[in-house]
C-alpha cells in the first residue's frame, strides 16, 4: 500500500510538467502578447515598447520563459500579473476561493440528495416515484448547465416581479448593501421554529439511543439541519438589534456577509450540482440494485433480519463504496463544470477571471489559474484512488 501511494504521487510530477508545458505553449502560440496592444497606440514609440517587453521578460525565447515561470512555481511564486502589476495570487486567490464555495456546497448537495434518492429508487424500483426520478435524472444529465442557469435567472426575475420582493438573487455573489434589519427580523421570526425542530429531533435521537437503537438517516439529517440553522441564527439574534438598518457589504458583520453569499450561492449551486446529482443518483441506484441481488443479502433476509437492517447495514454500506472514492473526483470535476454557470450567473469565480485574463493576454494570470485547477484536479484524482484503496479491502494494488 505504501509503495502504491508513493508511486501514485511520483506519477503526478511528469503529469504536472506536461500539463503546464502544454498550457504554456498553447497560450504563447496565440497571436500577440500583452504589449501588442500598445503597438497600435501612436503615442508610444518603438523603443519604449521594446523596453517594456524586455522589462516584462516577453522578449526571451519560449523555453526560457517557461523555465523562469517554473522556477517561480517551485518557489511558490505564481508570477507577476501584467495588467494588475501585482503578484498573480492577489488577483486570482479570491476568485479561486469563490469557486471553491460553489464546488464545496454543490458536493454537499449532491451527496446529501443523491444517496437517499438512489437508495429509495433501488428499493422501490419501477414504482412511479422511481420512474419520476429516472426521468428527472435523464433531464438533469442532458440539460446544458448554462441553459439551466439562464432558466434559473429567468425564474428569479419572474418570481421577484410577481411577488415584488427579492426572493431569489439575480446573478452576482454579493449585494452592495445588506439589509441587516430584515435579516434580524427574519431570524427573530424563525428562531423559535428552528429551536423547536432541533429539540424534537434531539428528543427522537435520545429516545432511540436509550432503547439501544441507532438513529435513522432522517433523524440525523433533521438534527443537523435544524441544529445548524439554530446556531446560525444566534449571531443575528444577539448582535442584530444593535446594528443599523442597512450597511455596505464590506462593513457588515461576518454572519451577514455569509448569509448574503449563501443566498446568492443557492440557485447557482443547484444549477452547478444538477448534472452530478443526476449522474450519481443513477449510479447509486445501479449499485444498490447490484448489491441487493447478491447472495449474502438473501442469506441476511433468510436468517430473519429486518428489512431495515438488511438495507442499511448489509446493502448500503457495500453500495456506497464507489461514492466515498468519488468525492475526490467530484470536487475538481465541478470546478470545470461550474465554469459556464459562473459566466451565466455572474459569479466571480475562476472561469470569468480566465476569460478576462485571456482578453488582456495576461499570461501569468492564465497560467496561474490553469495550474491551480490542474493541481486541484490531480490531487482530487489521487485522493479518490487512495480512498478507494483504503475503503475497499477487496481492491489490492501490487
Amino acid at each position: 500500500m505504501f509503495a502504491y501511494v508513493v508511486r501514485r504521487l511520483l506519477q503526478l510530477i511528469p503529469t504536472f510538467f506536461g500539463a503546464t508545458l502544454l498550457a504554456f505553449l498553447v497560450i504563447q502560440l496565440a497571436p500577440g502578447d500583452f504589449v501588442t496592444r500598445l503597438e497600435l497606440d501612436p503615442t508610444q514609440d518603438r523603443e519604449s515598447i521594446a523596453n517594456l517587453r524586455q522589462q516584462l521578460g516577453l522578449d526571451q525565447p519560449l523555453p526560457v520563459q517557461y523555465a523562469k515561470w517554473l522556477s517561480g512555481i517551485l518557489q511558490g511564486y505564481l508570477g507577476l500579473s501584467l495588467s494588475y502589476k501585482t503578484d498573480v495570487w492577489n488577483v486570482i486567490g479570491q476568485r479561486i476561493l469563490n469557486s471553491m464555495v460553489l464546488v464545496v456546497l454543490a458536493t454537499l448537495m449532491i451527496y446529501l440528495i443523491a444517496i437517499p434518492i438512489g437508495v429509495y429508487s433501488a428499493i422501490r424500483k419501477y414504482t412511479w416515484p422511481d420512474r419520476t426520478f429516472t426521468v428527472l435524472a435523464f433531464l438533469g444529465l442532458a440539460i446544458p448547465n448554462f441553459f439551466f442557469g439562464l432558466i434559473m435567472l429567468f425564474l428569479a426575475v419572474w418570481l421577484n416581479d410577481l411577488t415584488d420582493m427579492r426572493i431569489l438573487p439575480i446573478g452576482g455573489m454579493t449585494t452592495e448593501f445588506i439589509h441587516l434589519g430584515n435579516l434580524t427580523r427574519a431570524a427573530q421570526l424563525l428562531f423559535p421554529f428552528a429551536l423547536l425542530g432541533t429539540l424534537v429531533f434531539a428528543g427522537l435521537f435520545w429516545q432511540r439511543s436509550r432503547r439501544g437503537q441507532a438513529a435513522t438517516f432522517g433523524i440525523w439529517v433533521g438534527l443537523v439541519l435544524f441544529g445548524m440553522s439554530t446556531l446560525l441564527m444566534l449571531a443575528p439574534l444577539l448582535q442584530g438589534p444593535g446594528l443599523p438598518e442597512r450597511l455596505p457589504y464590506t462593513e457588515s458583520p461576518l454572519w451577514a456577509r455569509a448569509t448574503n453569499v449563501l443566498w446568492h450561492a443557492f440557485p447557482v449551486v443547484i444549477v452547478v450540482g444538477t448534472s452530478g446529482l443526476a449522474g450519481l443518483m443513477r449510479v447509486m441506484r445501479g449499485q444498490m440494485l447490484d448489491v441487493l441481488s447478491q447472495d449474502y443479502i438473501r442469506t441476511a433476509r433468510a436468517k430473519g433480519l429486518s428489512e431495515r437492517v438488511v438495507i442499511y447495514k448489509h446493502a448500503l454500506r457495500n453500495a456506497v463504496i464507489p461514492f466515498i472514492a468519488g468525492i475526490g473526483g467530484l470536487l475538481p470535476g465541478l470546478i470545470g463544470g461550474a465554469g459556464l454557470v459562473e459566466v451565466t450567473m455572474a459569479w466571480p469565480g475562476i472561469t470569468p477571471a480566465l476569460l478576462e485574463a485571456i482578453s488582456a493576454i495576461d499570461i501569468y494570470v492564465i497560467m496561474g489559474l490553469i495550474t491551480i485547477t490542474t493541481v486541484l484536479l490531480m490531487i482530487g484524482n489521487v485522493v479518490s484512488d487512495l480512498l478507494l484503496a483504503w475503503v475497499d479491502p477487496r481492491i489490492r494494488y501490487s
Partner: protein, 523 residues
C-alpha cells in the same frame, strides 16, 4: 405432484447478430423516441432553407427582439379561416412609452400559404429553387412579417435560424467524434497492442549494438535514403513556396483554404510514404535522423539553460546551472552508451493523462483563442471541430486500448501472428473489428458531450461566430441583452431547449444501442 413443464420448442430462425440487435433495439421505446427526434432534427437541418421563411442572414433592424408574430385563425366574424397574420409596425406605445411591435389587422390581413414561392436559394448548395414551407406573396413584398418564434437582436427570424443553426450544432458533434475516433483508434490500438512489449527507442553510439544495427541494412538502401531525403527537402520547399505564393495572399476565400488543406494533407501523406518507403529501410539514415533529433533537444535545452542562467542571479542561477548541467550530461550519456527501450503504451497513456489533467473547459478556452479572428465561418467550423476532438480523444483511446488489450490475447489474434501477419495487419484486420459494437455505443454516448462543448464555447463567444449560426451562439443572445430585459423575451431561450432535446435524444439512443448490442441479452 409433478407437473410436466410445457417447453416452447418451436424452432427459432437463425438470426445474425445485427438482426438480433435490431430486434432488441426496437423493443426499447425511449431509444426509438430518441432516434425519431434525431431524425426530425437532421431532416430539419437538411431542409432548413425550405422550413425557414427567410434566408439565413436576412435581418430586419426595425424588428429587433420582436415577439412571435400572432397567427390568427378566425376572421373578423369569428369564423374559422385559413391562418393569417396581420400587418405590423414598430412604434412607441403611448401608454407604456416602450417601443413595441404593434399588430394592426385593420391595415391588412395576409393569409399564410404552404409550399409557396419564397426567396430563391440553392438546396444543398447545388440545386437552385425557391420553394419554401410557409409564406405568400406578401412575405416577398415585405408587407407583413412572419416570425414564428420571434426575432433576435438583429431582427432575424429565430424559427428559421434554429434550423440553419442545427446544421452546425448537430453536425459538429459527428465530425468531432469522427476525428477524435480516428486519433483515438490510432493511439489506443498502438497503446493496447504494444503494452508490455517495449520498443527499442535509442542505442548509444559507443554501444556495439549500434554498429550492428547500422550494418544491418545493405548499402543500396543508403542511396535510396539519400534520394528520399532530397525528395523530402524538395517537398517541404514546394509546400512552403506554395503556401507563401498561392495560399497566404488569398486566405479569406474558402476555396483557397480548402486547396491549402488538401495540399497539406497530400504533402504529409507523401512525406510519410517517402519516409517509410525510402528512408526507413536504411539504418544509417535512421541513426542520422535520430542523432539530429537528439541534437535538436540538446540545443533547445542549451538555449533554455543559458537564457535562464543569464537572467537570474544568486542561488537560483547556481541551481539552474546545476540542473542544466545534469540534463545535458544525461543527454550526452544517452547519446553515448545505453540501449533504451520504451513502452509505447506508457508514453501514450501519460499523454492522455496530461490532457486529462487540465480541466476540459479551460483547455477548450485557451485552444479556441488560437483560432484567428478573421477566418471564414467554414474554417472556423473545422478548427472548432479540431480542438473539440483534440481535447476529447483521450477517453476514446482509453476505451479502445482496454478492448485491444483483451482481444490481442485471443486465440485468433495469436494465430494470425503465428501465421506471420504483420503488426498493422493483426491490429486492423483481426483486433479492431472486435471493438466495433463497443465503439458504436461509446461514440453515440460521446456525441452529446461534443454538442455541449460546442454550444458552451459558442455561448462564450469563442466557438462559432457571426454570421454563422449555432444554437449556443443564439442562446448567448438571451444574456447579452441584460438580465432585467430577460423576462420580456423568453423566446430567446428556445435554442437552449433544442440543445437539451438533441442531447437527451442522443443519450436515449446510446442507452438503447448499448442494450441492443449487448449479446448477453436474449432476443
Amino acid at each position: 405432484m409433478l407437473r410436466r413443464v410445457q417447453r416452447n420448442t418451436a424452432p427459432k430462425a437463425n438470426r445474425s447478430f445485427f438482426q438480433q440487435a435490431w430486434i432488441r433495439f426496437k423493443r426499447h421505446p425511449l431509444a426509438r423516441l430518441g432516434a425519431a427526434v434525431l431524425l426530425v432534427f437532421y431532416l430539419g437541418a437538411l431542409f432548413a432553407d425550405f422550413l425557414a421563411p427567410y434566408p439565413e442572414e436576412k435581418s430586419f433592424r426595425d424588428f429587433s427582439f420582436a415577439s412571435p408574430t400572432r397567427i390568427f385563425w378566425r376572421d373578423e366574424n369569428g369564423r374559422l379561416t385559413r391562418p393569417y397574420v396581420c400587418a405590423s409596425e414598430r412604434r412607441r406605445n403611448l401608454e407604456t412609452f416602450k417601443v413595441e411591435v404593434i399588430t394592426d389587422c385593420e391595415k391588412g390581413r395576409y393569409p399564410i400559404y404552404f409550399f409557396v414561392k419564397g426567396e430563391p436559394y440553392r438546396f444543398l448548395g447545388l440545386i437552385p429553387t425557391d420553394l419554401r414551407l410557409m409564406g405568400g406573396p406578401w412575405l416577398l413584398e415585405d408587407k407583413a412579417k412572419l416570425f414564428l418564434w420571434g426575432t433576435d437582436d438583429f431582427g432575424r427570424d429565430i424559427w428559421g435560424r434554429i434550423w440553419y443553426g442545427a446544421r452546425i450544432s448537430l453536425t459538429i458533434g459527428i465530425f468531432a467524434v469522427a476525428l477524435a475516433l480516428v486519433i483515438g483508434i490510432f493511439m489506443g490500438s498502438i497503446s493496447g497492442y504494444y503494452a508490455g512489449r517495449p520498443v527499442t527507442f535509442s542505442i548509444g553510439i559507443l554501444n556495439p549494438q549500434f554498429w550492428a544495427f547500422i550494418r544491418g541494412s545493405p548499402w543500396y538502401t543508403h542511396l535510396m535514403a539519400a534520394l528520399g531525403l532530397v525528395l523530402i527537402a524538395a517537398l517541404l520547399f514546394a509546400m512552403g513556396y506554395g503556401y507563401q505564393n498561392f495560399i497566404r495572399p488569398d486566405l479569406q476565400r474558402v476555396s483557397t483554404l480548402a486547396l491549402g488543406a488538401l495540399g497539406l494533407v497530400v504533402g504529409l501523406v507523401l512525406l510519410g510514404v517517402i519516409l517509410y518507403a525510402l528512408v526507413w529501410k536504411s539504418h544509417l539514415a535512421r541513426a542520422l535522423l535520430w542523432l539530429s533529433a537528439w541534437a535538436g533537444i540538446a540545443w533547445l535545452l542549451w538555449i533554455t539553460v543559458w537564457g535562464f542562467w543569464q537572467s537570474s542571479r544568486g542561488l537560483e542561477a547556481i541551481i539552474a546551472g546545476l540542473i542544466g548541467a545534469v540534463l545535458l550530461g544525461a543527454i550526452g550519456y544517452v547519446l553515448l552508451w545505453p540501449r533504451i527501450e520504451l513502452d509505447l503504451d506508457t508514453i501514450i497513456m501519460r499523454t492522455v493523462e496530461v490532457l486529462a489533467a487540465i480541466p476540459d473547459l479551460f483547455l477548450l478556452i485557451i485552444l479556441s483563442v488560437l483560432i484567428p479572428m478573421e477566418v471564414p465561418p467554414a474554417v472556423r467550423f473545422v478548427l472548432v471541430v479540431t480542438i473539440l476532438s483534440f481535447v476529447n480523444w483521450g477517453g476514446l483511446a482509453r476505451i479502445i486500448r482496454s478492448q485491444v488489450l483483451q482481444l490481442r490475447e485471443m486465440e485468433f489474434a495469436q494465430a494470425a501472428q503465428a501465421l506471420g501477419a504483420g503488426d498493422a495487419r493483426v491490429i486492423i484486420r483481426h483486433v479492431l473489428p472486435g471493438t466495433y459494437t463497443y465503439l458504436i455505443v461509446a461514440v453515440t454516448l460521446a456525441i452529446p458531450g461534443f454538442i455541449l462543448g460546442e454550444s458552451g464555447l459558442s455561448f462564450l463567444g469563442l466557438g462559432i461566430q457571426e454570421p454563422a449560426t449555432s444554437w449556443g451562439l443564439m442562446l448567448s443572445k438571451a444574456q447579452a441583452t441584460g438580465i432585467t430585459a430577460f423576462t420580456e423575451r423568453p423566446w430567446l431561450l428556445i435554442p437552449g431547449l433544442f440543445i437539451l432535446l438533441a442531447v437527451l435524444a442522443y443519450n436515449f439512443l446510446g442507452d438503447g444501442l448499448r442494450d441492443a448490442l449487448d449479446p448477453r441479452t436474449k432476443v
